[in-house]
């Protein structure tokens, strides 16, 4: 991390994350009239953890096991040729057909929308879903593409200088969502 970041505020605690996941699961069931033909695709890496949590809630609601896949969008990024550290390509693991399925993409933070654009291109290369919906834990605004989320855990107005950091037990050992602010350089 190049710039120094200061913790500004905690916007979700463990219980808040849990409530958001539960609500998103209920909204998914309501919007799709159940869980038939539903699949969840998480974006590496925290989107996958969230997708698994949503699937667990969906099982408690409807009783069915909802398939969860993992999508790595590195090969579809629009900034690959730009100067910067080269992103590591990780594995896409979707061991089921997405043809004619109701696909819910799951990511932790929605920001410019470019990752979701890449993810949709990636999905279309794997098949022809009946529809694609988007679930995110945090929507922080500042879209650069005409993309919106169908399910949002929390809307958080931010500035470009801020960073939203999602910490999940599976990756980070604890559940928390923080907004970090870039520290002003003192000379």
């Amino acid at each position: 991390m190049a710039a120094e970041l200061n913790e500004k505020a905690q916007i979700l605690d463990p219980a808040g994350i849990q409530r958001a996941v539960t609500r998103i699961a209920h909204e998914i069931v309501e919007r799709n009239n159940g869980t038939d033909e539903l699949v969840l695709i998480g974006l590496r890496s925290r989107g996958v953890d969230l997708a698994r949590r949503i699937a667990k809630e969906l099982k408690m609601i409807g009783g069915a096991d909802i398939p969860v896949g993992t999508l790595d969008v590195t090969l579809y990024r629009d900034d690959l040729g730009k100067v910067g550290p080269q992103p590591v390509v990780r594995k896409t693991e979707i061991p089921f057909s997405i043809n004619e399925k109701r696909v819910v993409l799951v990511d932790d933070v929605l920001y410019t929308g470019r990752t979701i654009r890449a993810a949709m291109d990636g999905l279309i290369d794997l098949g022809r879903p009946r529809l694609i919906q988007l679930a995110v834990l945090v929507d922080r605004g500042h879209r650069e593409l005409p993309i919106r989320a169908d399910y949002v855990g929390k809307n958080v107005p931010t500035s470009h200088q801020e960073q939203v950091q999602v910490l999940l037990t599976e990756e980070d050992g604890l559940d928390r969502v923080l907004v970090l602010k870039e520290q002003e350089k003192v000379r």
């Binding site: 690959l80 100067v83 590591v88 390509v89 594995k91 794997l126």
Partner: protein, 309 residues
């Protein structure tokens, strides 16, 4: 993490960490190869030139497919139909290609060091696809990938490389690569085909096939370069085959779960019997399949952004 280099000229220059990054990236690429629509946009707008001064089926095709699946534009130049047939030097061919701004040039050449010479001329990434008896790094990488895929690890495994070691770039690249990944390597062949001072590479040399293959995890057979028979390195093909050909009978000396590899093209019935080549432990076609994934990984790592240009 990225490969901090412009070119891939040999296994000797890579670190264990570089090799691990290439193999891990190749695993992700293999998923793309298994799709119905085998195309990702990672190298859109990049140009790959395959420049081959020697015949090749698998290596050239493999690079071409790898480039196309990553959406690069791929151009094949083979020498009989190019200005090389009119006597153009490698240097001038290189400068000519440079003027067309390729991003990657893949070179196969009969002279050791040719890839390095070209790499110094070009701003494009140069990948050595075999230079004389020197190195063939992408073959070694796909071999390591295949072994790791089957065994789950590389460290601590033992491999025997059998055949004309002295003239084999595949052997040289594999020795470097396997040792860097913590494998133990031994070589076997007629004394005339074992290089002097081979022990300086830290490998044990055998002139007896059965002793060499006992107790190893991997047997790598090399193609007998039949064109070398005139050089008098061995009395007859039949004798070579009897002493160093891998047959079902000879294989009894090896462990029952041994992996059998061959970089191809194979001489059926010479260095490897058809029963062994087509047998259950043969990985010859896995090697070819994995070659595409490994080359996709390299193309991405050398030209897929990050570095300027």
């Amino acid at each position: 993490m990225s490969l901090a280099r412009k070119d891939l000229l040999g296994m000797r220059e890579l670190t264990a960490e570089d090799i691990r990054l290439i193999l891990d990236t190749a695993e992700s690429m293999k998923e793309v190869a298994g799709r119905d629509i085998k195309k990702v946009p990672a190298l859109r707008g990049k140009t790959l030139i395959n420049l081959f001064y020697e015949p090749s089926t698998r290596t050239r095709t493999s690079f071409e497919i790898a480039g196309k699946w990553l959406s690069a534009d791929v151009i094949n130049v083979s020498t009989p139909s190019s200005s090389v047939a009119k006597g153009e030097s490698l240097k001038d061919t290189g400068l000519t290609l440079q003027a067309m701004h390729p991003d990657i040039v893949v070179l196969r050449h009969p002279t050791s060091g040719a890839a390095e010479l070209l790499a110094r001329q070009l701003s494009a990434a140069v990948i050595n696809a075999g230079d004389g008896a020197h190195e063939h790094p992408t073959q070694a990488l796909l071999d390591l990938f295949t072994i790791r895929e089957k065994k789950g690890r590389l460290e601590g495994l033992k491999a025997a490389i059998v055949g004309d070691i002295a003239h084999s770039r595949v052997a040289r690249s594999n020795i470097h690569g396997m040792q860097k990944m913590g494998m133990e390597v031994r070589v076997a062949g007629p004394r005339t085909m074992l290089p002097c001072f081979i022990d300086r590479l830290g490998v044990e040399a055998f002139t007896d096939l059965e002793r060499a293959i006992a107790d190893v995890d991997v047997i790598m057979m090399l193609r007998l370069q039949l064109e070398r028979q005139q050089a008098g390195l061995f009395p007859s093909i039949r004798e070579y085959s009897r002493l160093f050909g891998l047959s079902v009978e000879r294989l009894k000396a090896a462990r029952s779960d041994v992996l059998i590899m061959h970089p191809g093209p194979i001489n059926r019935g010479v260095e490897i019997s058809p029963e062994v080549a087509d047998g259950p432990y043969s990985l010859i076609l896995n090697q070819v399949e994995n070659g595409v994934a490994v080359r996709m990984a390299l193309l991405y790592l050398l030209a897929g952004g990050g570095q300027a240009g």
